[in-house]
Symmetry: C2
Subunit: 499 residues, 2 copies
């Protein structure tokens, strides 16, 4: 993996001076085209061994191109706001928007590599991290991010020489602290861990590019030319003849029985019973949310359902039980401009709650496999891969002690008609019924199909779907409250056992 990089690569100043101005001009042009094109972001990861010129390269990129459209981020100690979210959160919040270049100085690879070198994690956990990285990077690529991963390498001898040289120069002496020498002693171990890491996280779309770090001029031209070529290739992309997308069709049940039409949507619940159950479960939810251990978890509740199925009413019965300080409602409508410039999960990641808090999503990331699929807002390969991306997302949440609870509120077509008509009559409900609702109704069957596929593919043991029979609002609300409460109580128990 590092063989080529350890050769003594060198160019003389004259060669550099001939090459640099042209490269710089071309990079600046590419950056300009990227901005005008505006259809994808470039994300550059800078990694590798100490003293191999990572910082210098980042400065150089900022110097060659227009620094106003480059977003450089480093990731030192996590802040408390970051520690309260899953590890990937800090990278999501720093992603460059379309048309821009982001430079990540250290990124999601840093922690697993360093922790493995220090022996803080074992091989199994290391593998888990690698798998997570692969999934995350695949998602970025599929979302159109041009991901370029540069690994700056030095041989052991080169690293030693480099540190010594830095120490000798009074202007750079500060760069070499005890820490650098400590890392130097770990060189062999570091390389032994990195080599398989690079191999395992190099994919067709996002391979690691190893840069020989010893000669500053060689290094600079290498990175610059590769970056240029990669940007140009994507910018000048012409449509090519390809095999058709190869997503297999989803199976259809031969007897037309599905998880939705098998539901008994009319469930009994009298008003009296409802009042009692409501009080009981709201009380228990309230108690759970005020439990001291609740500060160690958080809750993401997702409400999806047919139009007029009573999502708003159910959400209100939940929030009634909670202190207003502890929840945040996210109503998902059309994405904003800043959200459209990011991978589609970005707008949900930004609302992941801190510890001890609820985020309640009225509609959610499942829009991708429901409305976007049915209305054709995204292509089949995009919603097909979304099932996996969503499962990965929810796994990242649950692994961080975030309780994920998902409700599908189902009503019958007849019940919906009744409610639509009622809404049109009652003045203060008038804004709950729009032309769109009537349009959606015409695609009832397509939606039902999409819902069934969604449940089949994303109802997992860590984040199961709860199908709520909702023709009777009382029954539906109680079922929502009971399910949510039990999930929170179970999580409180779990963190207790974990100590």
């Amino acid at each position: 993996m590092f063989e080529s990089a350890e050769l003594e690569h060198k160019i003389d100043k004259a060669t550099y001076r001939r090459g640099e101005p042209k490269l710089r001009e071309a990079l600046l042009n590419a950056q300009y085209d990227l901005k005008v094109n505006g259809r994808f972001p470039v994300l550059i990861l800078i990694a590798g061994v100490e003293g191999a010129g990572k910082g210098e390269t980042v400065n150089l990129l900022n110097e060659w191109m227009d620094p106003r459209h480059i977003y450089t981020h480093a990731f030192p100690e996590r802040s408390d706001e970051e520690r309260e979210r899953p590890p990937l959160w800090r990278f999501w919040r720093a992603l460059p928007p379309k048309g821009r270049i982001g430079v990540f100085f250290g990124a999601w690879h840093t922690y697993p590599v360093v922790a493995r070198v220090r022996g803080e994690i074992g091989e199994a956990e290391f593998s888990q991290h690698i798998a997570e990285i692969l999934r995350f990077e695949k998602m970025l690529s599929d979302e159109g991010v041009l991901l370029l991963k540069y690994w700056f390498h030095l041989s052991r001898g080169q690293q030693k020489a480099r540190l010594k040289a830095l120490e000798r120069d009074p202007r750079t002496r500060w760069k070499v602290t005890d820490l650098e020498w400590k890392y130097f002693k770990l060189y062999k171990k570091f390389v032994r861990i990195c080599e398989p890491f690079l191999r395992r996280t190099s994919t067709g779309e996002a391979p690691w590019i190893v840069i020989p770090g010893a000669d500053p001029l060689y290094r600079a031209l290498s990175v610059g030319r590769h970056l240029l070529a990669a940007m140009r290739e994507r910018l000048d992309e012409k449509p090519v003849e390809r095999l058709p997308d190869k997503n297999p069709p989803m199976p259809e049940a031969i007897d037309r029985r599905d998880v939705i039409n098998s539901l008994e949507l009319d469930q009994p619940m009298t008003r009296d019973r409802y009042q009692k159950e409501l009080e009981k479960w709201q009380g228990r939810l309230n108690l759970a949310a005020r439990h001291p251990r609740f500060r160690r978890i958080s809750v993401v509740a997702v409400f999806e359902g047919n139009d007029a199925a009573g999502k708003g009413g159910a959400i209100r019965r939940v929030t009634q039980a909670l202190d207003a300080r502890s929840y945040f409602n996210v109503s998902v409508a059309a994405p904003t401009e800043e959200e459209r410039a990011q991978p589609y999960l970005w707008r949900f990641w930004r609302h992941i709650p801190r510890r001890g808090r609820f985020t309640i999503f009225d509609r959610s990331w499942y829009g991708r496999v429901l409305v976007e699929r049915v209305e054709g807002f995204c292509k089949e390969p995009d919603w097909m891969r979304a099932y996996k991306e969503i499962n990965d997302f929810e796994q990242a949440l649950t692994r961080h002690n975030i309780v994920v609870v998902k409700f599908w509120l189902a009503i019958s077509k007849e019940e919906q008609m009744k409610r639509f008509k009622l809404r049109e009559k009652v003045a203060f409900k008038r804004f709950k019924i729009t032309e769109e609702d009537w349009r959606n109704r015409k695609k009832w069957d397509a939606y039902e199909r999409a819902v069934c596929d969604m449940v089949d593919r994303t109802s997992t043991s860590i984040a199961p779907w709860t199908l709520v029979e909702a023709n009777n609002k009382y029954y539906a609300r109680v079922k929502v409250l009971r399910t949510l409460t039990r999930a929170v109580e179970a999580a409180l128990k779990r963190v207790k056992q974990e100590g």
Copy 2:
């Protein structure tokens, strides 16, 4: 101030039941109209004594209206990301966008009142806080925020009775802890502090509305009806006949001498000298930025100037001296959709750096009094008040140990022509020259006027403007570096003295 509120206000259930459905319907309609209108946000502050129904009211608002468009925020302990920014930052990041309702459960009034009651701050500092609150709220009002401040009051007897009642009920017992009784003992002191606080922070646009908190039904209808009336008034606003805006004209110098045309724009600096000075100041800046005490301050550097005056080049000479991990460039162009839905300073507040970091603004909030003024993008009263708002903003920064450095890079009209022509020739500079640059040039005099007014009104001892004679790029870059370095060095000295 609290006389009316301490009367025994009460309504019976029957009255409430007659009034509530209508009120609810009207509120829901108002909320819908607000969303459609989309021209202003509503920000509701909830404050007052313990046990007076603040939490219940917030829940009620979420129940009466559509909670999907209400953003409720509480402000407990500040996170470390918040502590590293000025105190107002956490409120800026929580402001509701236009068309939405924000509910702040406790806000900028909480700290000064509580600190004063506890005796942690004296009368002088309390007054300072009040002055800052007045300025901040005026800015919000001027920016179109409908700010509604509700103060929930109980007499001492009412508070005692309320706490006892809560304690008796097993379902609410948890609400009364030792802390509540501790606060109760401070009741008299609390009211003695609050009374003048409310008086001094009540203005024509944003008076405190005192709500009698003893009777839940009375309280609910009071808040609801007031909120409705306030929203309706703003939503139904008809143009009225008014006196013309009364901003006095800005004085003009009789001899036509101004701070810009008095500059000697051609300053000598040879290439040799430049290389030496550059190295010297970059070295010193680098040292300063790596100083251990630098972690206790942060830097906001603003670059403004004529088109083609060399802002980009100067910024690059600054970033060359810095570790790429320590700065963030913000290039100010047209605001995004999310930014347009907020007061205009919002998009700058969001980029205020954490401790130990630089944010470098290429163009800035001064667009308000430069391009927006000259091009007529905002009205005279708006840019006239901006001078004060900007001074307040920069004061909030400097008070929090953020070094604010502002550069105006000035070139002559002839020099600009030379550079424009050069840019059109050199391919890799082509995207630095646009039609707009040529258009701006035609308004040279109007811009010069605006620049002079800006300098006169916003060059303050805490955040002075540095006018940079920039016909000679070498001279300009060195002056920028020297000024910035000295400002950082002075701040390091200052925090040392503060201990």
